[in-house]
Amino acid sequence: MPGPLTKKVPTPNPFWLASAPPTNSGDQVKRAFDAGWGGAVWKALGQPIQNVSSRFGSTNYFAGRHVGFNNIELITDRPLEANFREIAEVKRLYPKNAVIASLMVESRAEWRDIIRRAIDAGADGLELNFGCPHGMCERGMGSAVGQEPKVNEEITSWAVDYSTVPVLVKLTPNVSDIVPHGLAAKRGGAHGVSLINTIKSVIGVDIDRFVPLPRVGDLATNGGYCGAAVKPIALHMVAALARHPDFRLPLSGIGGIATWRDAVEFMLLGSGTVQVCTEVMLRGYGIVGDLIEGLTEYMRTHGFQRLDDFVGRAVPAFREWGELDLNYEVVAKIDATTCIGCQRCLVACMDGAHQCIHPDPSGSRVPVVDESECVGCNLCQIVCPVDGCVTMEQVANGYAPATWREHEAAGVLLRPKKGSHG
């Protein structure tokens, strides 16, 4: 793995605020640094814009409030002079914290000008916003750039030419495969890549007014999706770049990070720094205490001395489906002593899996797994409300490991199929 960007941009810890409302002003960033954030990617700077009122939306899943979040906000709507003045002041007061200027303009001359001003103000690095999927892309910026590898490469190369500080390219997830876009940034000379920006989304619909959300008067537009729900998409994109042999650039992971555990997951898949937006919007800067403590404790329990000891540690295990062992076998076991008898596993298996969890004939509410038919899909464990009650246990079936490729190529023996195959 390449060293994390933190070596090029000094930061007391790997936790940065993503470019978004929490980094809108010097006052906010100062409070964030006081709370313990290592760095801040300033709210994207560019030519003056006007925002709509009514900008955010949120989606719930039963008791899970704002599992997903979206916005139709553009880049900063504050004067550039004010932003640069505040960047300079923050850098003067917090020389040890990383301040990254997020930038989004159009012409080469504009890029040159804004980069000079950002560096003059004291920014430790630049982040090129090629990601915003709403509003700005209609003007040929944001994701409109991030979706075109050629444009991405060209603008990145301008920025790298003009910049005396490290340049990060912030990628959009609104592409079918992230790899060509990461490689374009690399060809352009970027020093690192941050991802993901938000995902095109409609967060909901006002079902009585017949207008999608968030509603601006009687109309609505697509927004950018973020928050906890996007983490799996972000993790995949981070991992896809981290494992690509030609990529090898530092990664700053973003998307749905709410706890230290989420951050560790991004790090294990190759992120040297992580950025947070939505969770801070929902809970405030104070969450960083737990992020730092949780990471520290995680490192202590694993005996890791520095981030390099584990950044990217899970990347080698992230492979193609065809490399997986088809003879690896697990079955579900239900611990009768902790089972509360809700039988959610039973209905899940009956209706959504392979019909191998049954009521106990003796009348107990603890269901019984028919291990001879259990395919080991994990669904029952996933729906069980009691931690550790359903476990997936490996079966010593006597078959040697075999991938599909090995089976196809060399006829390596596969274990018999299970699960109502008749």
Partner: protein, 434 residues
């Protein structure tokens, strides 16, 4: 610290935890309910201002160590407070879930979860500042002195705690109802506090000449708590079968009490000690237990939430009555009571309450007297008068806990002890009242 082990047969071991420990999964589920309020009302209601949403969020993320660290940063006695605090009238009582008409967050149980995890794992959170060469004497080894000494030690001062009893911990060890916390847990907390280093506890040492301490120490903290159970001063009060409630509770916690043959007991008083005593007698199997109180139910100073549980456990009450004599042949058998109006006896209106065991829970003596003799220290009805920092007015003398506040809770003693430590530190650094 070496000390005699507690007897495994002491009476208190029969008491079950009123609020049992959470499993990790239970704790996370409860923690996830927390709204994470800003400027949270629960924090404002905690005398030690623990960052409650902060520690609960850490439990929700699986960061129990950080949760415990957050608690101890504000209150080093967070483990006992988790168990003994009347949370219903403190943090939990202010939870905004009440405004939503839903059950409040079980803050005490979550705090217990985090602090127990820290004790079990042996996590340490404090590093002493370099030795200052100053030594502070603390009188009494109760919560106030322990909190004070711990803070002083972290700030680099040495501490010597002088405790007249054989065991440290104050009322956490000798008085708190065992369904909240047993003595072994209180002693474990003392050891945990002392593990920071720089604190010596001398048990079996009663301070009778406080002035002498001035020659030996750079500052003194008075944390002597309250004294003996008060008496009514009525005929028959010395009959066998009549005990002070705090004295009785100390015996049931550290030794054994026998209630064999006791068919009917009465507890005189209406405060929290009285309610605790009633519940303890019921749990120990006394068939009929009655509270005898000079006011009505709404006038009692004991917490309503505790009295409600006592009633569910079968306790009864005789309201608006005050004993005028105890009667019996060789041992107490009945209490002659006067009816009260506005808490005063009405002459001539008397009746009897049968009781072959009586506990007096009408208050405890104040211990300020020996300190009041020192110029600069003043007393208010036996209570040591202090300013907001715990300063008594005599150079180098500070006080906190029950002896200064007149008798509150463990968490108040913890808060006042810590606050006094900060003031003592400033004093030793040559600050304000040097």
């Amino acid at each position: 610290m070496t000390r005699d082990p507690l007897s495994p047969d002491r009476t208190e071991v029969v008491f079950a935890d009123a609020k049992p420990a959470y499993t990790p999964a239970q704790a996370v589920i409860e923690a996830e309910r927390c709204h994470q309020c800003h400027d949270a009302p629960c924090v404002a209601a905690c005398p030690t201002a623990i960052d409650i949403p902060g520690f609960i969020r850490r439990i929700a993320t699986g960061n129990a160590r950080g949760a415990a660290g957050t608690i101890f940063a504000s209150n080093v006695l967070g483990m006992s407070c988790a168990r003994v605090c009347p949370v219903e009238v403190l943090c939990v009582g202010r939870c905004v879930y009440h405004e939503q008409g839903l059950p409040p967050i079980a803050i005490g149980r979550l705090q217990r979860y985090a602090t127990d995890a820290a004790f079990a794992a042996g996590w340490t959170f404090f590093q002493r500042a370099p030795e200052t060469g100053r030594t502070v004497a603390l009188i009494g080894a109760g919560p106030a002195s322990l909190a004070c000494a711990h803070r002083l030690s972290v700030l680099g001062h040495r501490c010597v705690i002088l405790e007249k009893r054989p065991l440290p911990g104050g009322l956490n060890t000798t008085g708190v109802a065992p369904h909240k916390m047993r003595a072994d847990r209180a002693l474990a907390e003392v050891d945990w506090v002392l593990s920071v280093g720089g604190i010596e506890v001398r048990t079996g040492v009663e301070v009778t000449d406080p002035e002498a301490l001035e020659r030996e120490y750079d500052a003194v903290f008075v944390g002597v708590g309250l004294g003996e159970d008060a008496c009514l001063g009525v005929p028959g009060e010395d009959l066998p079968g009549i005990f002070g409630a705090v004295d009785f509770i100390e015996r049931l916690k550290l030794g054994t009490v026998s209630l064999a043959g006791v068919g009917s007991a009465a507890v005189i008083g209406g405060g929290n000690t009285a309610v605790d005593a009633v519940r303890e007698l019921r749990t120990l199997g006394v068939p009929r237990v009655r509270l005898v109180y000079r006011g009505g139910e709404s006038a009692m100073s004991g917490y309503a939430h505790e009295w409600d549980v006592a009633k569910k456990e079968g306790a009864e009450a005789v309201w608006n009555a005050v004993p005028v004599a105890f009667e019996g042949d060789g041992a107490v058998r009945r209490i002659r009571c006067a009816v009260t109006r506005d808490r005063r006896p009405v002459p001539g209106e008397e009746f009897f309450v049968e009781a072959d065991r009586v506990l007096l829970a009408i208050g405890q003596a104040k211990l300020g007297e020996i300190f009041g003799r020192l110029p600069g220290i003043s007393l208010d009805r036996g209570r040591v008068v202090v300013d907001a920092d715990g300063f008594t007015g005599r150079r180098g003398w500070y006080a906190g806990g029950d002896c200064a506040n007149g008798g509150k809770e463990v968490v108040n003693a913890a808060a006042e002890g810590r606050r006094a430590a900060d003031a003592i530190h400033r004093h030793l650094q040559g600050g304000r009242d040097a």
